[in-house]
């Protein structure tokens, strides 16, 4: 008996019981749908996060003051003043794995221009900061080494600041804005970077020489952070090790004492995040796989019922010339068609769902062709595996008894 006829027979049998076929497929539809959606969403989010992180510079290394704990209570990093400009100089001079480093001094100042106000967050940094953190100048120029020496009252501002201060569309370059009480000249405007993965607006920023912020705004001589760049992504680990040993020495920390600073590499964060999302993907895929298994068992169940219900039909088919293997194939094809059709519907459902969710969350949508191919094969396998025993039961029936079955 040929293949087309077999498929035709199986298909006709399924059409005779549409509702049941649909309900049986539901398990597979949900299973495959969730596998596709989970894997796709997992990848979309990983991709979104990693492109976010790379846009912040994959070789970036940050040094912060350590958060201090006293008796188990985290008292924050606020009142420790250990990081100094000399630390930055030492790192630059001694580590061959660091290409650039910049002190960071943060200040919050009301920005005023004409009648406009904007709460600005000021980053006092050096001329390398923009490059370290993958900022680019859209117009005008960067702050310079001379500006550091002179504690010059100049700044480079982000697009959000421009939009909120220069509301009449004036060219910001050369304009003098006030930061608190200090008049500062705008020398450059940054290219827009958008929001980062924490939802922070990276364009809401004012870049100034750190010396200016230290002396003229905050009157401090320490710095809040060091932002550095490793020679390459792969050298991030070595750069961290260098920074740790240099800072332990310059901070005169005893061997048994803990660091009074924390060092993070962007790369580490990337690895951590992707391992978290990978784990989530695996977890969700495992849950989805379990639902597929349940779907498969559902198919087996219904196929057993079907075989029992159609005992006379099986007897009749044998009487008119069906061989045992024809009956076996018929029921195998039925279960396989059930799970394949369920699988395809599930895929459409899953792709639709993940497309909707990723566009809702603003992630880029990833269509994973290998996963779909694998799901298709898995569906066929489920249909055959779970259809096997019912089909074998059907094909082993004795035609005389089957014909007499009530």
């Amino acid at each position: 008996m040929n293949f087309i006829n077999q498929i035709k027979i199986a298909w006709q049998a399924l059409l005779r019981n549409k509702t049941r076929a649909l309900l049986t497929m539901l398990g597979i539809i949900i299973g495959i749908g969730s596998v596709i959606a989970m894997v796709s969403l997992g990848q979309s989010s990983t991709k979104g996060i990693s492109s976010e992180i790379s846009s912040m510079g994959t070789n970036t290394v940050m040094v912060m003051r350590a958060s201090q704990t006293q008796g188990g209570v985290n008292i924050g990093a606020g009142n420790v003043q250990t990081l100094k400009v000399s630390d930055v100089e030492a790192i630059l001079a001694e580590s061959s794995n660091i290409s650039m480093a910049s002190p960071v001094v943060n200040a919050s100042q009301q920005i005023v221009y004409g009648a406009n106000n904007w709460p600005g967050s000021v980053s006092g940094v050096n001329e390398d900061y923009l490059e370290i953190n993958k900022y680019e100048i859209a117009s005008g120029s960067n702050i310079t080494a001379d500006d550091m020496r002179n504690s010059a009252k100049v700044c480079v501002i982000g697009q959000t600041v421009v939009d909120n201060i220069f509301t009449k569309g004036e060219n910001p370059l050369g304009k003098v804005i006030r930061l608190g009480r200090i008049p500062v000249k705008v020398v450059g405007v940054l290219k827009s970077k958008g929001t980062n993965m924490m939802g922070m607006d990276q364009d809401d920023i004012v870049i100034m020489p750190y010396t200016t912020v230290q002396k003229r705004m905050l009157a401090i001589n320490y710095i809040h952070m060091i932002s550095a760049s490793a020679m390459s992504e792969d050298l991030s680990e070595l750069a961290i090790a260098d920074i740790e040993s240099i800072l332990r020495r310059t901070h005169k920390i005893d061997v048994e004492d803990e660091d009074d600073f924390d060092v993070f590499a962007q790369q580490q964060m990337l690895d951590m995040l992707s391992s978290v999302t990978d784990m989530l993907t695996i977890l969700l895929a495992a849950i989805a796989a379990i639902s597929l298994l349940v779907g498969g068992i559902g198919i087996m169940n219904i196929m057993y019922v079907t075989v029992t219900e159609r005992t006379r039909e099986i007897g009749l088919r044998m009487a008119v010339g069906a061989k045992n293997k024809d009956i076996l194939k018929q029921f195998l094809y039925e279960s396989t068609i059930l799970s394949l059709v369920g699988g395809v519907v599930g895929m459409i459902f899953g792709v639709g769902l993940s497309y909707a969710v990723s566009s809702l969350l603003g992630w880029s949508f990833v269509l994973n062709i290998p996963t779909m191919a694998v799901s298709f094969i898995v569906c066929a396998a489920i249909g055959m595996f779970f259809g096997w025993y019912p089909a074998r039961k059907a094909s082993n029936l004795d035609p005389i008894n089957a014909l007499r079955y009530e």
């Binding site: 008996m1 040929n2 006829n5 035709k8 027979i9 006709q12 005779r16 006379r312 039909e313 007897g315 009749l316 088919r317 044998m318 009487a319 008119v320 010339g321 069906a322 061989k323 045992n324 293997k325 024809d326 035609p399 005389i400 014909l403």
Partner: protein
Amino acid sequence: METIIKIDKLHREFNMGSETVRALKGISFEIQKGEFVSIMGTSGSGKSTLLNILGCLDRPTAGDYYIDGTSVSKLSKDELSTIRNRKIGFVFQSYNLLPRTSALENVELPLLYNNTVSSTERRERAVHALEQVGLSDRIDHTPNQLSGGQQQRVAIARAIVNDPVMLLADEATGNLDTRTSYEIMNLFQELNSHGKTIVFVTHESDIAVFTNRTIMLRDGNIVKDEGIKTLSARTALDNLPVSED
């Protein structure tokens, strides 16, 4: 004369635990091409058992069976399936049509298991078979839209669609009223007149009179095997009172 069926000292025993039921106790006969044979006997006399063996659904415990010249005892299961498909047409008491399936598709069924028939030919032959049983206007009806007699006609169309050498019927009129039974017998007589060999199991003697030979079984033995004077089912139908219930 061409011998279609030849059985020789056929035995069939069923083992029921310690007990052995001897349903057929060494029976022999031959059936020639074009015969219309009825097999009669009381309930439990072995009629169905014999017919199942003749139909290659069952195998004898001992004895030989030749169908159309081939010995069946040495054939494999698959070969028996092919014989059932090409050489035998079954008609059952309870029609055994596939539910929710059109008359046409029901009739096509045996041809689906015959690779030499293309799908267009399959359809043509099924339509032709339905014409032969007088149901060309019921092609798309499903069994639950047909009367018992019509359902049995569909079953007969299914039995003849593969052009088998013989038709085997087990109590084919058992579920039908007198008039419909006569109509079905009339149909069988027509098929027989076109050369089809028919073996017809029944326990009703007023049905057996439409055949041309009766084999009587009792307790697994043949007690009578003789040609009879055949009545015409057509005439019998015409003689029925007009409004019989």
